[in-house]
Symmetry: C2
Subunit: 343 residues, 2 copies
DNA sequence: CTGAAAGCGCTAACAT
DNA sequence: ATGTTAGCGCTTTCAG
């Protein structure tokens, strides 16, 4: 029935058992500088025998940095964001920091809550992929945040927060132009979640290119699942002016249409060509292989993390290039589905 | 040049500005029980105006729980583990806890370091997917851990740690038997990383079934990339007794062989059948569609997290079913590549 | 090279 | 209903 404070031994317990002061133990666990080799060895032995581990909370409470950064993304199961997370974590680790991943489902409410969690934990900074670039709620919160923040994949408008994004506009432009150069005249642009920054940019790139070629825009932003893709495809093909090419603006949309095209027996690219945004594992393997716009996914995560640490470590730089927006380049990977390669 | 302690306001600053004691503020931020509505409102206004956020480190230092759990996995970019993580995080959130994801590349050293990080942060418990079920180093460390631990996907041998795994042995058995029932006589079993628990179990399941059918085992565990798959396939086909069916024990192996079969123009399933372990997005879409053994991925993550919380919340149960090993069932999804469906 | 002591920001008795 | 106060476990002057 002894009063067992905690199941963990403390620094002063180590000190007592080793017959030294707490300062000495503190020095030992922090590198062992300015400690007599004899004492050092003895203290280490006690630490070992007690299984002592310094309490991070106490260290944080004392010090100024927590060596923790946040990573707030829609989903951790999404290959795009999990690859970003992996890259960011590598950078965090190189800076001896812990990366805390928080997911939001693109809901502002969850984003605000996540930021609050990070604030309470006194994260040294964080990376955020906001679902809505214009949310007033989030903007108000971020305005008050004292630590460095970097947005990923999607910027936040009207706030001096640096962003690391890929070149969505010109990626879509590139893709559209490529289809035009193939000679396609009726190029449909398909996607879901049209309110996302990335989608708006890509749609704008498509539109710009279509208009300057004097073609007609065919836009459907209601693709949520296989069913809606199949329905959209059937409708378009049954209409008076069926498309001769499909530009799908996100991974899942590309896959839904690939499946629908196959199911309906539409020959690709002869009857309808297909060009997708975002590469995926089997894109080169399926028949026909699918041409895509490829984003530098790992580089996005890595760059965002590097930028964040640069700002955390250098307050001056933070003031300087405040609203920096880093655009990483996308590239077109031509395969068979756009007509570039013989079957 | 004022001594700005920290950029964050503290509880006592709030107290002073609101003209109340620290206890009152503490009560307010903890639900506002036993506080006069008037005072409560005033304090809340001050909190709002100061942008005060309680310092988590201080709360942790005081209290017994950190409301933090760890999730130690090989990689966060691996779809299997990121899906598990997503499911586990949902459970953690339901328990108002933070999930900290740490990655190890299946390296014992990184696993030990991750566990140490969690110990320093005084995580209330953690979930671990060890790369090596027999590592003495890890075992020694875990032996000393005072908080609940649950292993995921791969158990740790010789230690009373509960494990949540899928039924690898009988999954592979099921798959092998299915191929046998199709009439295939020379069934090759292919994979990489044969030291992983899951692979050993699956190989054992394959072996058991092959032997009881009186067939010959054909095992190649050296498949690391597309190149090795293509090489293995060419060798086998050029040999005196080529296989008539392929059982691939992991996702990447399945894909490598699918690509190699296609590249070499081998007709599936007529000349060689293919059955893979683990489902994947395009398995039903590629031609031929690929038959697979499907694991309950989200359920694994969810169950592991639920089991962990159960143990964290109930010390008695912890003692009771100590070495519980929960096996979740896999199922066979027959598609075209094994011969189940006409092309 | 080493130790005593003062907090870091918060919670929880214990008073009032 | 509210304030006072003693730590939680650690780091860090400041003295020896």
């Amino acid at each position: 029935m002894t009063k067992k404070k905690s199941k963990h031994p403390t620094l002063s317990e180590v000190a007592k058992k080793a017959g030294v002061g707490t300062t000495t133990v503190s020095r030992v666990i922090n590198g062992g500088q300015r400690v007599d080799p004899q004492t050092l060895a003895r203290v280490q032995r006690v630490i070992e025998s007690l299984g002592y581990m310094p309490n991070q909370a106490a260290r944080i409470l004392k010090g100024d940095r927590t060596r923790t950064i946040g990573f707030v993304i829609p989903s951790i199961a999404d290959p795009f964001f999990s690859s970003c997370a992996e890259a960011a974590q590598a950078i965090a680790r190189a800076h001896e920091s812990l990366l805390i991943v928080l997911t939001t489902q693109n809901e502002v409410h969850a984003e605000v809550e996540s930021v609050n969690v990070l604030l309470r934990h006194r994260a040294d900074g964080f990376i955020l992929a906001p679902g809505n670039s214009q949310s007033q709620l989030l903007r108000n919160l971020l305005k008050r945040v004292q630590v460095p923040v970097v947005t990923l994949d999607r910027p936040i408008e009207g706030l001096p927060i640096p962003a690391v994004v890929s070149d969505n506009f010109s990626g879509a432009q590139l893709a559209t132009r490529h289809l035009i150069e193939h000679g396609y005249k009726r190029i449909a642009c398909l996607t879901g979640e049209p309110t996302l920054y990335t989608m708006r940019e890509r749609i704008a790139g498509y539109q710009k290119e279509i208009e300057s070629a004097g073609l007609e825009m065919i836009l459907d932003t209601s693709i949520k699942d296989y069913r809606s893709a199949e329905y959209a495809l059937e409708s378009m093909l049954a209409g008076p002016n069926p498309p001769d090419a499909l530009l799908t603006l996100k991974n899942s949309t590309t896959i839904f249409f690939f499946e629908a095209l196959q199911k309906l027996g539409v020959v690709v690219p002869e009857r309808v060509a297909l060009l997708g945004y975002d590469d995926f594992e089997l894109a080169a393997t399926v028949r026909p292989s699918i041409s895509v716009v490829q984003q530098p996914i790992e580089a996005l995560g890595r760059t965002a993390a590097e930028l964040l640490f640069a700002r955390m470590l250098d307050g001056a730089a933070t003031e300087k290039n405040k609203a920096a927006i880093v655009q990483l380049h996308t590239r077109l990977i031509p395969r068979a589905s756009c007509g570039c390669r013989p079957q």
